[in-house]
Amino acid sequence: MVTRFRVLSVVLIVFLLQITLFAGVRIDGVAPELPLLLSVLISMHVGAERSIVIGFAIGFAYDLALGTPLGLWALVCCLAAYPFGVASAHLDRTSGTGLWLLSGLLSAGGIIGFAVAGAMVGRTDLLRGLGHVVAIATVFNLLLSPIVSRGIRWAFASGGRLRTV
């Protein structure tokens, strides 16, 4: 129960930071994509199967807040979370750096996936300047990854699985 409450708190805080603080804090006009990072990092603690559900919920909330086509971020977040959940289960003894880089790779893949899936349903404008967005948002996500990861570790410290990123 405590773990659930803590996880919910961390998700809520990160989510609110994304739509408030990081609406203005940008590097060259690009903000991080924290909900995507959050979905990926949480999957390390809950396993691949449940990470899909959590990724979907986070992505869906993000869609609701942004006004993007409903279901698009939900689709991307759950698909990005799954491989990380699988990888972290099989690479139990890998270095934190490996998972950190993998989280960056999945962030980049998730952003590209979002734009491509959006273009497939008619939102071709999402592809414009994609390289610029992917590059900066991925670096941003990598920089913030240790902080988000620490929050998640705190949330799961009361009983969940614990690994170091």
């Binding site: 609110l16 994304q18 739509i19 408030t20 603080l21 990081f22 609406a23 203005g24 804090v25 940008r26 590097i27 060259d28 006009g29 690009v30 903000a31 994509e33 899909i52 559900v53 979907f56 992505g59 869906f60 909330a61 993000y62 869609d63 609701l64 807040a65 942004l66 006004g67 993007t68 086509p69 409903l70 279901g71 698009l72 939900a74 689709l75 759950c78 698909l79 952003i111 979002f114 734009a115 959006g118 349903v121 008619g122 071709t124 404008d125 999402l126 414009r128 300047g129 967005v133 948002a137």
Partner: protein, 262 residues
């Protein structure tokens, strides 16, 4: 299963399924006060980042001067438009003056959450101020765009530079054309429609005033800009229009509570 659910939501949303639109709007309404409060709390940090990104105070002062210049430029263009209207003897009822339409002034924010809302801005007015989707947004200098999402206390404006922006315009006094947003630039590519054959293929249209032709989105005679260049390409002619408003430096805008003629 969840992937299918996401795809189903996506399909329904893109088909304009009402309950999903209401759900999204309701969520944004709930978050709006949080965002407003957070904006004031985080403003010292966001201001610092603005400065880091080159948007320092000096730039803001320059923006104020630029706005003044724009106002004067817009005034000159409106005067020219009015003179053209009188020459055409449209009569008093035909001369739709934007001031005759009730309006609401809103402050612009470029801080739209996320990375995938190019060519859109937010204003701090919403349905509680009487705004509705598709109402036109202008400044003293000319047309800015129209409202796409209207929440209780915020609205999203789609700028003219958005690829999905379409405006029926008059070029000079003769040519009615359909203009559309460019690729994130501040120009509009206009493709001749009804009178394609009559569009001169030289640069004689260069500098001509461009105004709205009226329709379901925009009232008549709002200044859009001036013709920059005319580019013939086969049987088609592309007319590039330089907008009268600098869409990258908006501060306050006016939303016209325009009801299109039935």
């Amino acid at each position: 299963m969840l992937v299918l659910t996401a795809i189903t939501f996506l399909t329904l949303d893109l088909r304009g399924f009402g309950p999903l639109t209401s759900l999204q709007q309701g969520a944004r309404d709930v978050l709006s006060p949080v965002r407003t409060r957070a904006d004031s709390i985080f403003s010292p940090i966001t201001d610092r980042f603005d400065s880091f990104n080159g948007n320092d105070e000096l730039k803001r002062d320059n923006e104020a001067l630029r706005k003044e210049l724009e106002d004067l430029k817009g005034q000159a263009l409106r005067d020219e438009a009015d003179a053209a209207n009188y020459r055409k003897l449209r009569g008093e009822l035909g001369l739709l003056d934007d001031l005759a339409i009730p309006s609401v002034i809103g402050r612009v924010s470029y801080n739209v959450p996320g990375n995938f809302a190019p060519n859109t801005v937010e204003i701090d007015r919403g349905s509680s101020s009487g705004l509705k989707p598709n109402q036109p947004v202008i400044t003293q200098a000319g047309l800015v765009g129209h409202l796409v999402h209207v929440d209780r206390d915020r609205s999203t404006v789609r700028l003219l530079s958005h690829p999905d922006s379409n405006v029926a315009v008059y070029i000079g006094e003769q040519y009615q054309m359909l203009a559309r947003g460019g690729n994130g630039t501040f120009l509009i590519d206009a493709v001749p429609s009804l009178e394609a054959d009559r569009i001169p293929r030289d640069n004689s249209l260069q500098g001509e005033l461009v105004t709205t032709a009226g329709g379901p989105l925009y009232p008549k005679d709002i200044v859009v800009g001036r013709v920059a260049t005319v580019i013939p390409s086969g049987e088609q002619v592309t007319v590039r229009i330089e907008l009268s408003v600098d869409l990258s430096a908006l501060d306050f805008v006016t939303v016209l509570l325009y009801e299109p003629p039935s």
